[in-house]
């Protein structure tokens, strides 16, 4: 009963704030509404007793990505810059595509929802299980290789920056780089 009410509140919040995020004219407000959506999603995870997912959602999306979003908006926009929305064939076609995607996703979800439901048993996941799943190398235990690949990508990015960087001339090294 209480769970249902909370679920409806969260679902309503997600729906309303998603629409607001898309329709808001100020980009910083859009970012804030998106943040609310992410937080409400985290609330849904909490409702399902997925505590780890909840914390990761809050840390990574709300705390990390959104901060990056807002920072980049700070750096790129003048205060109060507004978007001019025009109705064009692009908008119409993308709206059509969005509706089509929604229908497809809805069909898949409705078809699979009973199967998905059987996985949710409401018990809190053990941290040890999570850890072995992440670090293990057996079937369905894939996170470690995934992370290794991301480290490799990071190394690639740093290498690219190093290559792209201007060659230091030995005669006048930039000041303040030594310490």
């Amino acid at each position: 009963m209480a769970q249902q009410i909370i679920f409806y509140i969260l679902a309503l919040a997600i729906a309303v704030f998603s629409i607001l995020a898309v329709t808001s004219k100020r980009v910083i407000r859009s970012a804030t509404y998106l943040l609310f959506v992410l937080l409400a999603t985290a609330g849904l995870f909490l409702l399902l007793n997925y505590h780890y997912l909840f914390a990761v959602q809050v840390t990574v999306y709300a705390g990390g990505i959104m901060v990056l979003f807002i920072m980049s908006i700070f750096l790129t926009h003048k205060p109060g810059d507004q978007f001019i929305t025009r109705m064009s064939w692009k908008v119409r076609s993308s709206a059509f595509l969005a509706v089509a995607g929604l229908v497809l996703c809805g069909y898949i979800i409705v078809k699979n929802v009973t199967r998905v439901y059987s996985y949710i048993n409401g018990n809190e996941l053990q941290m040890q299980d999570l850890g072995t799943t992440m670090m293990g190398t057996e079937k369905y235990q894939y996170l470690l290789p995934f992370e290794v690949i991301s480290v490799l990508l990071l190394a690639c990015i740093i290498g690219a920056i190093l290559i792209a960087r201007k060659e230091k001339s030995p005669m006048n090294p930039p000041q303040g780089d030594m310490d």
Binding site: H51, Y52, V56, V58, T59, I70, M71, P79, M127
Partner: protein, 375 residues
């Protein structure tokens, strides 16, 4: 072994719980208990903030060989209450050209993130409102929300000083949160759990600080430094460097809204110290020595919350000591410290801790008769 604990609050709490469970339907019992816990947390939040403001002002004065507030009550103990009364009824200025929604929402982000983190702290035996299995990640997650409030406050104020202050704050928060989280993870490796209550239980005979000796101590120091920087205090308070940025991101806030920022700043100091206490210094667990039952009994007579607040108080004092010892850092030096020193050291430190745990070089592995919980 069961020690007698005459002053603990667990008895009262369980009596209340059974009373509600027996007399009400489960839904209403949960509801009322939740409401009570909420009220208790908010009250504790306010009281601790007021006490901290007084203590900070007094200790600051002592460090500068002054007396500090001493005209209200004995030794000025009710000074912060006067401040509270004033700030509650001070005018909240309606500023025309701000982004109203974000401007009014920003203080709530800061205070809510602070309260959420506050709720997860184990204050004593059975005095913990939220005890997730992933307690440490929860603490990191909840405290990471505060930075958004700061950024939005700076942006929506329509003031260049707020904006620059918010940018600095944001950069500082985000970078130092990284090393704070990493140093906590070092201890997670050591104790093998993320649940705060279990971490406290595991430190019954040896605090994590000593159990993990060298890496734990490095992690402890790094956590204190980065936690200190996260709260925008001490040598790291340049987001509000007054000479240049007026009051940083909360320049345009007045009255109660400013009070929220002010309160959250002090409470974050407490939260950092409390998490450090819980994770490194054994939390509310009294000092115990394996085998010495009489000594342990004496230690248990002192209630757990007293232990907790004493340890936290020591760390808060340390934070104030640092604050009044060092001059303010420049922003590039600040980020240098984080990215060139704290973070690399931290990463090596985690590796060191993993190796130590795998090789069995912790104190409880070396001297299981003295420090290990299980025989």
């Amino acid at each position: 072994m069961n020690y007698s604990q005459p002053l603990e609050l667990t008895g009262i709490i369980s009596t209340l719980d059974t009373f509600f469970r027996n007399n009400l339907t489960p839904f209403w019992a949960t509801f009322i208990e939740g409401a009570l816990i909420l009220i208790a947390i908010l009250a504790a939040y306010a009281i601790i903030a007021l006490a901290l403001i007084y203590i900070e002002r007094k200790i600051t004065a002592f460090f500068q060989s002054r007396l500090g507030p001493n005209r209200l009550g004995k030794y000025g103990v009710i000074q912060s209450i006067a401040d509270m009364v004033k700030i509650l009824i001070k005018e909240i200025i309606q500023i025309n050209d701000v982004d109203k929604f974000l401007f009014y929402a920003a203080p709530f982000f800061v205070i809510i993130s602070s309260v959420l983190t506050f709720g997860a702290i184990p204050f004593g035996m059975g005095l913990q409102a939220v005890d997730f299995k992933i307690g440490i990640i929860y603490v990191i997650a909840a405290s990471s929300l505060g930075v958004i409030g700061v950024l939005l406050a700076g942006w929506s104020s329509n003031n260049k000083y707020s904006m620059i202050g918010a940018m600095r704050s944001g950069a500082q928060f985000v970078s130092y949160e990284l090393s704070a989280a990493f140093s906590l993870m070092t201890i997670v490796v050591l104790s093998g759990t993320m649940q705060l209550s279990e971490i406290v239980e595991n430190q019954r005979y040896a605090w994590n600080l000593f159990n993990g000796h060298i890496p734990a101590m490095i992690a402890f120091v790094i956590y204190l430094i980065s936690g200190h920087a996260e709260t925008n205090r001490g040598p790291f308070d340049l987001p509000e460097a007054e000479g240049e940025l007026t009051a940083g991101y909360h320049t345009e806030y007045s009255g109660l809204q400013f009070g929220f920022f002010y309160l959250a700043e002090y409470l974050n100091m407490f939260i950092i110290a409390a998490v450090a206490t819980t994770v490194f210094l054994g939390g509310w667990m009294p000092i115990q020595i394996k085998g010495l039952d009489a000594f342990n009994q004496v230690m248990w007579y002192i209630p757990s919350y007293v232990w907790f607040f004493a340890k936290t108080g020591v760390l808060i004092f340390l934070s104030l000591w640092v604050r009044w010892s060092f001059p303010r850092m420049r922003i590039d030096l600040l980020l240098n410290l984080e990215w060139k020193y704290l973070l690399p050291i931290n990463l090596v430190n985690i590796l060191l801790m993993v190796l130590m745990v795998l090789a069995g070089w912790t104190l409880s592995d070396w001297f299981p008769g003295l420090f290990a919980i299980a025989p």
